[in-house]
Amino acid sequence: MYEVVIGLEVHVHLKTKTKAFCGCSTEFGQEPNSQVCPVCLGLPGCLPVLNKIALDYAIKVALSLNCKVQEYTKFDRKNYFYPDLPKNYQISQYDLPIARDGFLNIDLEDKVKRVGIRRVHLEEDAGKLIHQQDSSLVDFNRAGIPLLEIVSEPDINSPQETHEYLTILKSVIEYLEVSDCDMEKGSLRCDANISIRKKGAQELGVKTELKNMNSFKAVKDALSFEVERQTELLNKDKPIIQETRLWDARELKTVSMRIKEEAQDYRYFPDPDLTAFIINEAQIEEIKKTIPELPQGKMSRFIKDYGLSKYDAKILVSLKNNADYAEDCIKAYPNKDKKPIVNWLIGPLLSEANNRNCSLSELKIPGGKQELLKLVESAQAGKISHLMAKSVLNESIDSGIPCLTIIENKNLFQISDSGSLDNIVEEVVKENAKSVADYKQGKTNALMFMVGRVMRKTSGRANPKVVCEILKRRLTDA
């Protein structure tokens, strides 16, 4: 009945060493007002000079988002008063941003959807404001850090798609290594615009701007809430007011900002303290060369070259470090069917990495990838059970002892020959007469119980399949 229309404005901190217009450090978490200078404090008489790397990074992101990089770009002053804005204007870009008209493809269940990127521009961040009982406190460390603003077209049609878009966008930017994209540290921020209209309608509905969402989940929840709120209003024939609403993460609802909507007149004009910037083909080509294979391209390639499923490939490419490590393992795995090594990567390996809060490449597996492959091969060949192999991996990382060494030392090899197992099976049969009787009466649970007993007696080393067969033969005999 209704169609949801969403547009997103994402701000990312660029990971340059110094700020956008001065040489102060951009390091996070320092003492308040310790990373400041006359320029980023906006002291009288100071002047900005643009950081070359900030410009390069901006172009890099724009190209990765399929945008048209503008040949001529300039900075404008956005004028408004707020205590975290030292000059009471922000150096930003208005009508001639660095790039426009790009797109990002997002994966929906049944298809690929193209979300347009309207523009990408560079600006400086404001300081941090801490609200207290009777006053507010300002810390200007963050003032002047280069921000990239990425504005999408209103092509997104659900909170779920929003989540997809943000995940992929973050992934692309991480691959470029130009930002940490960490919402908790504030190096990625997201505002959303949402409106609703009757399906098939041409005109957009009244839009609401949403702010104060501190995680991708919060963005999704806030949008879901808004969809409900606005749908309800429309159903009751009530009007939707154009306003800014804040997400309340405790009450799980959006709240109107209640600021008198004096339409902000930013009085943009070209900043006379900065020159214009001309970006030529040669420079664009130079920067293109530094762009690695991006996640979606890599995903397609994994599917094509290694026969991975879309699901598996997607997981592996989500982090660049993981993708590179995974590809190395996959290439080195001798069999043509890569499923076993992929399962290991997606299962136990990623699990270990998550538990240790690191990436796959940061896992300190003694003996490196070679040792890991040996472990996987052993498990595949049945020399050791998969369950055992997983715990060996864990122990190996903890202890620093190579996997195969652990297996040998503790004699963890799986016992698969009937010769060794017959006696133990015999013991178990003798000790569990009731189970034997149950089994003969048709209770198959009893069989599994006895298999379990054998596993116990062999400290988990018996090959359960073989045990099962031996037991069955033995019980049929008797």
């Binding site: 002291l43 008489g45 900065l274």
Partner: protein, 484 residues
């Protein structure tokens, strides 16, 4: 002779230091005496009670050997009060030096702790808009010294300063230099770093010398000009030795005389003195021709849109958060943030500052941007094109610096528009970004100075110095002193 030492130029004092006839510390000494003697009348300096006149730097190996220089109150000096003669910057001590100050210190100058008076934030043409009250013209204490660098010009004219720095956005070096019979140069935009100059109009401001003669101006320009990586609008090209331009020969120099600068509004005595000066230039071998700068009448309106628009943005930072004056909350009320902003800026800014900020904000505001700001930027192109055309054929342009000599204190202050129109001859050079110099060219019957303005194409200060020097050395004006 000791009595006369304070009258000497910087280059004369340097000679004496070289001959060991005097030390820079002694120079500070007699300057202090002179200031004590006459500044209560002239009021060229501000906050005299708050600062201690320091000892001279004395490096005899340096270029300037400790000679003191006086600085306008809008140029940042590390640890020394810099307040733009405004209440809102009360108590402000910048934690850094402007680039020109660093250069002066590196050249061995002593930067005086006493700052010179100015119109608040450089908004004005008479120095009457200073929070500390007006400076008086040393040639007639009932009259203005011009503005906004009135303090610097008066100090130099009254020999209360050896030389000084001023700033020029629409004529604020040249017009006071003219009113006070000193030399004043506005460099090409981008020639001198603006880093540390408290901005009025970022696309027009320049720092420049105000001196007793042309040689001093050339010497000072050698020190302060040059590329600054901290200023994105500073030009990366070599600075010539401007002293080399000081020859007395201007044979064959082609001078353009724009007719629009001699029409109604100009005082007859001023016109006569300037025409006589042009005749002198012809005597010295220059060729003159009448030309037209067709868009001259639009320069003042264009300027008052662009300059005030930029100023409204540049002055937004004065908000009592980090430094300066903060208005107290009204009786019984707890002040909230917006009230703090509004009351601070309402009380801290003077009338002219408020007028310009409001005008500038208006010109940029939604709905008016195209009609005012954008339009002004386009007419600015036309003004620049007028000058480009002339400089293809001529070496320089000569005009009066101001349509009148110094006017009486209080005469124009109640009529802002009248005050703005007194900038008519100087404003175009700022809009076109070209260098311009004012030199004394005579006196009216009331013994008020008249100034001659010379303009050249961008980065051709050498030609300005050459023509100015030739004229100066063949006339007596630079030897005149006010009777204080």
């Amino acid at each position: 002779m000791e009595n006369e030492l304070y009258k000497l130029t910087a280059h004369e004092l340097l000679e004496k230091i070289d001959k060991k006839e005097i030390t820079s510390q002694e120079i500070i000494g007699f300057l202090k005496k002179r200031i004590k003697g006459v500044d209560s009348k002239v009021k060229a300096y501000v906050r005299l009670k708050d600062a201690n006149l320091q000892s001279a730097t004395c490096n005899l190996q340096s270029t300037l050997k400790g000679i003191p220089i006086s600085i306008k109150d809008n140029i940042c000096t590390d640890g020394l009060h810099t307040e733009c003669c405004s209440k809102i910057l009360q108590g402000f001590k910048p934690p850094y030096d402007a680039t020109v100050i660093t250069k002066l210190k590196q050249a061995g100058a002593t930067v005086l702790a006493y700052k010179t008076n100015m119109d608040e934030f450089a908004f004005g043409s008479s120095t009457e808009n200073s929070y500390f009250g007006p400076t008086r013209n040393p040639y007639d204490l009932e009259r203005v010294p011009g503005g906004s660098s009135g303090g610097s010009a008066a100090a130099v004219a009254a020999d209360e300063a050896v030389w000084a720095l001023g700033t020029d956005t629409g004529g604020s070096i040249r017009q006071p230099a003219c009113f006070c019979a000193t030399v004043g140069l506005k460099p090409t935009y981008g020639r001198v770093s603006r880093y540390g100059l408290i901005a009025f109009a970022s696309s027009l401001d320049q720092i420049g010398p105000i001196t007793k003669d042309v040689e001093d101006a050339a010497l000072l320009m050698n020190i302060i000009a040059g590329f600054d990586p901290k200023d994105s609008t500073s030009v990366n090209s070599a600075v010539p030795d401007y002293l080399q331009a000081l020859e007395k020969d201007i044979k064959g120099i082609k001078i353009a005389i724009p007719k629009e600068y001699f029409v109604s509004g100009i005082d007859q005595e001023v016109k006569a003195a300037v025409l006589a000066a042009i005749d002198k230039l012809k005597d010295l071998g220059a060729q003159t021709s009448e030309v037209s700068l067709a868009h001259t009448e639009y320069a003042v309106p264009v300027y008052y849109i662009i300059a005030t628009a930029e100023a409204s943005s540049n002055l937004a930072r004065f908000d009592a958060v980090q430094y300066g004056f903060r208005a107290e909350s009204k009786k019984g009320k707890t002040q909230n943030l917006i009230e703090m902003y509004k009351q601070t800026r309402g009380e801290g800014f003077g009338q002219e500052a408020k007028r310009r900020i409001i005008l500038g904000t208006f010109a940029l505001s939604h709905g008016y941007y195209d009609a005012y700001y954008l339009r002004a930027l386009k007419v600015k192109t036309l003004i620049k094109q007028d000058f480009d055309k002339i400089f293809r054929e001529f070496d320089c342009i000569v005009t009066p610096t101001s349509p009148t000599a110094a006017f009486k204190i209080g005469e124009k202050i109640k009529d802002p528009l009248k005050m703005y129109l007194s900038d008519i001859y100087t404003i175009s050079a700022n809009l076109a970004g070209i260098p311009a110099i004012s030199i004394p060219c005579g006196f009216t019957k009331k013994v008020l100075p008249v100034g001659l303005q010379i303009l050249a194409k961008p980065f051709n200060e050498e030609l300005l110095f050459r023509v100015a020097y030739a004229y100066e050395q063949n006339t007596p004006w630079h030897l005149e002193k006010p009777k204080l």
